[in-house]
Structures are given as structure tokens and as C-alpha cells.
Amino acid sequence: MPQISQIAATYASQIFWLLITFGLLYFVVGKGMVTKIVATVDAREAKIEGDLAAAEAARRQADTVEDAWRAQMEAARVAAAAETAAAKAQATQSAEAQVKAADASLAERLGHHDFAIANAKAEALANLDTVAAEAAQQLVAKLSGIDVSVDQAAHAVREVRAHG
């Protein structure tokens, strides 16, 4: 077995070259490259973690925004309903008031007309009395030749009218 039979002759060369190659490997590859590669991996992991945290935060913010939007929508809906109800109530009220005003003006006009009719009727009646009295005076004058005053004739007409 050369590993053992040659050991006395080759150990120095073996150890010497192993220390050189393994030393280079350790300092150049191990200390130099691997450290950088591990740093790259760590940086990537940190970035992934940060990105995930940012995404989580963004999701949470989106949730709050959505909640706020929902609440706002709800409030707007309630306000709109209230406004609609108020407008409806106001419309009803104003319609009622308008109808009432129209009723009042109609009633007033009716009153005026009634009054005018009553006046006209009274005037007509008064005229009728005068006409009847004059007719009675002229009748009496024509038939009996007696001049009666208008007052007497009117009195008589009143009497006849009172008795029917």
C-alpha cells in the first residue's frame, strides 16, 4: 500500500502542497467568494422578507381603505335616503300648503260672489218695491183719480206683500 510504504518519503511534499492548495482554497474561495455569496443570499432573503412585509402592509392598507370606502358609501347611502325622505316630506308639505291656499282663495272668491249676489238680490228687491209702489200710485190715479203719495202707495204695497 503506497499510502503507508511511501509515507516517509512523501509526507513532506504531500503536507506542503496540501497546505498550499487548501490554504489558497480557504483564503481565496472560502473567505473571499463564499462570504460574498452568503452575503448575496442573505441580502436576497432580506429583500424577499422586506417585500413580503411591504406586500402585507399594502394589503392591510387596502383593507382599511376598503373599510373606509364601505363606511363612506354606507354614510352616503344613509344621507341620500334622509335627503330623499326630507324632500318627499317637503314636497308633501308644500303641496298641502298650495292646496290649502287654493282652497282659501276659492272660498274667498265664493264669499265675494255670494255677497255680490245677495247685494244684487237686495237691490233688485228694493227696486221691485219702488216699481210696485209707483205702479200702484199710477193705478190708483188712473182708476180713481185720487192722487196718493208715493209713500202711501209703498206702504200699501208693503202691506199687500206682507199678507201675500
Binding site: 499510502q3 512523501t10 492548495t21 452568503v38 448575496t40
Partner: protein, 263 residues
């Protein structure tokens, strides 16, 4: 060449260390020749560095290559965090280097570079000197971290919680022994697994070659079943290559946990 020599195929020849250029460099009485073993250490380092450079784009959204490299760093990082805790991230450079060096060396030793004339694949991790040094580095880091962090209180590692007072001296010795055996078990496990797998493959390959040399009947009876077995065992060895690298890194992180967190 080996096929022509028939039964002279030596399954141990693959582990032989020889200077690449044939010349020995002796420095201060030590032979520091650039051997085939050293060459394959450099190949391991170069291919690993190439693999890593391909993943150094450091983009936020990784491409395929970057994802592969990050898969390996993430694997080592997760292993350290689950065994040692968040404090274990400090050991990522070392455990990553260890895991990847062993993994690449294991797999490079299994790849069929032998089909290229003049290229002889060599498994660095099938040598006790290499696995032993890696195990000693791991053990030394455990000792340095343990004593550096806890001082002499680190010895309380050898007295588990709830040990009766009478038993403490005995348990202490037993635990100390098991602690001291760690670097040996760590280094030997990898060395033995790699050596055994490669010997098995080479023995089966010798069956295939020898059967072909001995005639058609032997091809049908010996070579073909051996070859089928080789295909299966090669797949198994690829699995072992990964598992052994994982076990080495895992045990290192488990030992580091002892040093960092005591109990």
C-alpha cells in the same frame, strides 16, 4: 500496457506518488517535489475555483450556475446552523472549503481521465497524509475555538451532565479518549473509504482485462459480469464520494458544536 502484462495488474499502483516532472525538489532536507498528488490537488483547487467563479455574478435572481453554487453554500450554511446554531455561520468558509475540497477530490478521482493517453487520474483523498492533515486542521480548530471560548472550562466537555461524582474520574478518561480518537477516525474513515472503493474498481477492471486476454469464454463468464458490476460500483462510489465529503464536514460541524456550545 498493463493489459499486455496479463495478471501483472497491480491495484495499488494507482496510489503511487511520483514527481510529475521526474525531478525531486529537496528543500532544507525535505522532499517538496511537485508530485502527481500535488498536481491533482491543484486540479481540484482550479476546478473548484472555476466552479465558484461561475457563480459569482451575485445577481438578485440567480441563474442556473449561481443557483448551483448557492445550493452548495446554502447546504453548508444550513448544516452549520442546524448543528452549531447561528454562531456556526462563522465557520462557513472553513467547512465549505473542507467539504468542497473533499467532494471535488473524490469525484475527480473517479472520473475516467485514464481514457486520455498519458493522463493518470489520482485520488488525493485516498492518501492518509492528506486526510490526516485535514482531520488535524479540523481538530485543531475545535481545540482553538474550545479553549479560546471557554478556557479550562472546556474540560467540562468530558464530564457529561448528571454523572455521579464517583464516576467522574473514569468517565473523564473515557470521554477524553473518545475525544482524542476523533481526528484519527475522521482521517481514517475518508482514507479507507476512498482506498477501498478504488481498489475494488481496479480489481474488477483487472478481471475484465484478464478475461479478455484469456479468450471469449472467459469474456462471457468473467469480463461481462465484472464490467456490469463495475458500472454499479462506480455509481455507488460516486454516492460514497458525496457521502464521505458530507460525513467529514458534518462531523467537523458536530465537533465545532461541542467547542462552541460545550453541552
Amino acid at each position: 500496457m498493463a493489459a499486455a502484462e496479463g495478471s501483472k495488474i497491480d491495484p495499488m499502483h494507482q496510489f503511487l506518488i511520483e514527481p510529475v516532472a521526474g525531478s525531486h525538489w529537496v528543500v532544507g532536507g525535505y522532499d517538496l517535489s511537485f508530485t502527481n498528488s500535488a498536481l491533482w490537488m491543484v486540479v481540484t483547487l482550479a476546478s473548484l475555483a472555476a466552479f465558484m467563479i461561475g457563480g459569482m455574478k451575485r445577481e438578485l435572481v440567480p441563474g442556473r450556475w449561481q443557483a448551483a453554487v448557492e445550493g452548495f453554500t446554502g447546504f453548508v450554511s444550513a448544516m452549520l446552523v442546524s448543528n452549531v446554531g447561528p454562531a456556526g455561520k462563522r465557520f462557513i468558509p472553513y467547512v465549505f472549503s473542507l467539504f468542497m475540497f473533499i467532494l471535488f477530490a473524490n469525484i475527480l478521482g473517479l472520473l475516467p481521465f485514464g481514457v486520455v493517453p498519458g493522463v493518470h487520474p489520482f485520488t488525493v483523498t485516498s492518501h492518509l497524509t492528506v486526510t490526516g492533515v485535514l482531520a488535524i486542521i479540523s481538530f485543531a480548530i475545535v481545540l482553538i475555538v474550545g479553549f479560546g471560548k471557554h478556557g479550562f472550562h472546556f474540560f467540562s466537555l468530558f464530564v457529561p451532565h448528571g454523572t455521579p461524582v464517583v464516576m467522574i474520574p473514569l468517565i473523564f478518561v473515557v470521554e477524553l479518549m473518545s475525544f482524542l480518537v476523533r481526528p484519527f477516525s475522521l482521517g481514517l474513515r475518508l482514507f479507507v473509504a476512498m482506498t477501498a472503493g478504488h481498489i475494488l474498481l481496479k480489481v474488477l477492471a483487472a478481471f475484465v482485462i484478464n478475461g479478455i486476454n484469456m479468450g471469449p469464454g472467459y469474456v462471457a463468464l468473467v469480463s461481462l459480469p465484472s464490467f456490469a458490476l463495475m458500472v454499479g460500483i462506480t455509481l455507488l462510489e460516486l454516492l460514497v464520494a458525496g457521502i464521505q465529503a458530507y460525513v467529514f464536514a458534518l462531523l467537523t460541524s458536530v465537533y465545532l458544536n461541542d467547542a462552541v456550545n460545550l453541552h
